[in-house]
Symmetry: C2
Subunit: 419 residues, 2 copies
């Protein structure tokens, strides 16, 4: 009887053509970050459920795979899930990073440059191209208070994405402190700032009319505040590094000078790269509530969404460590980049086709000889019609083969192209 061998709902198997492109993307990114001093760290997939539900994960906390306590006595008497579970699978790499730094900061030193790559799990409604287990790729610079962190993360990440094969990236940049000054300057009541930011974040999708309808009609924000925000935001579009400071000072007289100076520094550093475009995006919000300073995204023309994003989160490490440590991070959209690159079967090895009567020691010797001459080589038993087998090998990605018979001289095999 043939069973159903699908992976669990919302999960997937990765075949050789897929892992080949994933391994290439990962190792390229890792090598670039290593040159900048980012060392890979790894945390376990499981974290305590109380840590995962501490509020840092926003909506993701509703999507946690929860793990049953071991050794529960039956019949079970607990009436709530919370009593039955003690662990959960991580839904991002940021919650584990803050725990990791709290646990290991004495050994790690400051500043600490961290590179993480690994799976996370979210029990989302399955949809095309979205999986319940997917990989995240995060770099973080912990312990640097200046925008050296932002500028370096942007430089390293654009370099990594280009090295992967995606040239033509644009950096979109803003600052949470600008957003706060905007909310204050246009008269959004303090308790409604978050609502205001969430509405603004939807501008790309629903336009100003939609944002106004949501914030004014549904949420009761003052119409004057939203209209004033629109006017100021529109005055800030498309400005270069030399003009953005003055334009911000004009648009929001109350904004701290430090914010303007920081933006000027980061954008000057990006300009110095020569081949990376940037734009100040006054409607950029980024979802997570923990950002405290500059925020940024990377965009590529082939992708509707961003291919990476991050920002400064100076308050987050303090929640686990007990004292504030400045920090800034960048998360590369690993799965999105892999999707953009596509996958092709490829097998650089030489297929060593052997007849069934060929002695096995000779088969192994012949393939070993090829490997010792610098080729990859794979022994494959002759089966079916010769031409049909060659076609199957080509489909599998092989480009070369050799035919080995019982009386072949393994040192004199002729290597022939397939197809």
């Amino acid at each position: 009887m043939k069973a159903d061998n699908s992976p669990p709902r919302g999960n997937r198997d990765l075949l050789p053509a897929a892992t080949a492109v994933r391994d290439h993307v990962f190792s390229t990114i890792k090598d670039v970050y290593a040159k900048y001093g980012y060392a890979r760290i790894e945390t376990p997939a499981l974290e305590d459920i109380t840590r995962l539900t501490g509020g840092q994960g926003g909506e993701n906390e509703k999507l946690i795979y929860q793990v049953l306590k071991r050794g529960l006595e039956e019949p079970i008497t607990a009436q709530s899930a919370r009593e039955l579970v003690d662990l959960g699978l991580r839904f991002d790499l940021t919650v584990p990073l803050t725990r990791f730094y709290g646990n290991n900061h004495a050994t790690l030193g400051t500043p600490f440059r961290s590179f993480q790559f690994g799976p996370v799990w979210r029990a989302e409604r399955p949809q095309k191209g979205r999986y319940r287990q997917f990989y995240q790729c995060d770099i973080d610079l912990i312990g640097e208070q200046s925008v050296l962190a932002e500028a370096e993360l942007i430089e390293a990440t654009t370099e990594a994405i280009k090295a992967v094969g995606l040239a033509d990236v644009t950096v979109r940049l803003s600052d949470r402190r600008f957003l706060s000054a905007l909310a204050e300057g246009v008269g959004v009541p303090a308790e409604a700032w978050n609502t205001f930011f969430i509405g603004l974040d939807k501008l790309d999708k629903i336009g100003w009319d939609g944002v106004r309808a949501e914030l004014v009609d549904s949420r009761g924000l003052p119409a004057s505040a939203v209209d004033s925000a629109r006017e100021r935001i529109e005055s800030l579009g498309g400005l270069g590094a030399d003009k953005i400071g003055q334009a911000l000072a004009d648009a929001l007289p109350g904004m701290p000078e430090e914010v303007i100076a920081d933006l000027a520094t980061t954008t000057a550093c990006v300009d110095a790269l020569g081949d990376v475009r940037w734009e100040f995006d006054p409607t950029l919000v980024r979802g997570m509530g923990y950002y405290t300073g500059q925020i940024f995204e990377l965009h590529h023309p082939a992708s509707a969404g961003s291919v990476g994003g991050g920002g400064r989160y100076d308050g987050l490490i303090g929640r686990t460590l007990g004292r504030d440590v400045p920090a800034c991070g960048f998360s590369i959209g690993f799965e999105r980049i892999v999707d953009l690159l596509g996958a092709e079967p490829k097998q650089d090895n030489i297929a060593v086709l052997f007849e069934t009567d060929t002695p096995l020691p000779l088969v192994l010797q012949a393939t070993r000889d090829l490997r010792e001459r610098g080729h990859g080589a794979t022994a494959i038993r002759r089966s079916g019609k010769f031409g049909a087998q060659l076609t199957r090998l080509e489909t599998a990605g092989y480009t070369r083969f050799t035919a080995l018979k019982a009386d072949s001289d393994p040192a004199a095999l002729e290597i022939r192209p397939l197809g």
Copy 2:
């Protein structure tokens, strides 16, 4: 307030010095297997709980982390854990491989050479050096009926382990069909064969007296059978490839000729490698019940246990696929090898020490210049006493530094050794 930031019980954080050695071992092994035609595949961490508890995992099935169903209604009325869970974390890479091959065999072709590397989870009692999440590294050749599979897996795996830096490996080899012939030949009742094999497997630890006590006194096997097994086993120690066949035929006249021919072929292939020792080990059993033919382990003098092991399991794929496909696998003891190699902090980058008044664009420019000249380079802010900071850098694994001031010429920085 400083929280407890430890990972969950039995889990661990991996710091840069640890990931460096792990990444080195992984990529070395992967490169060797790739030359032999083994392509990496990946399956999800979660599998259906019914699949994980199907009997294939033996004792490991008692150690599964079980995942609560999503969207359970509260108050919970279920009285058994089984009603509450639908998924579990995999405890090995073999159960997922058989599902994977059943799911994807039409695309993969035959034979299929698979390389897997990834974490597995077992809720074992925590003990020194053993973790509840650990990595396995498996290669499998699916679809090859001859001992070409065994010989190739042994050749590739010994090459991989040597490439990692562990020369001096010994292959211990046996065959489940030999064990069956032994059990039958000495008169172990058919229903007690498994008990007999499990007892024999403990010989290393408890000696013949212990094995006899367990099998005869506790389990009620005939004393004559155990004594006869001992006698025949002792007649088979330390024999070379040229003698093992005759010795086996003498010791067990009922053993199929095919078993002897297969052993002769595999050992001749290992002999051809020149630098790999092997021994026939008549007490080798290997834990899992699914082996059907040759079984083997790799040993290294620095490790009490094996650094890898595997065997032929011709019946296993059939359980998911619905028709039998021959298969053979080798699992490298990744965590054990990493422990043998140890870990050292190492940071090949140049530390670019900059004073606080150095303009950040200059800092980035100077480190970029070094990278463009082929170095790794990491910008680090000057802090505290100069000598003490250099000592901290050395501890972190840096070997070189340069000092950058506001008026430095980034093209003319002097690179100096640390310490």
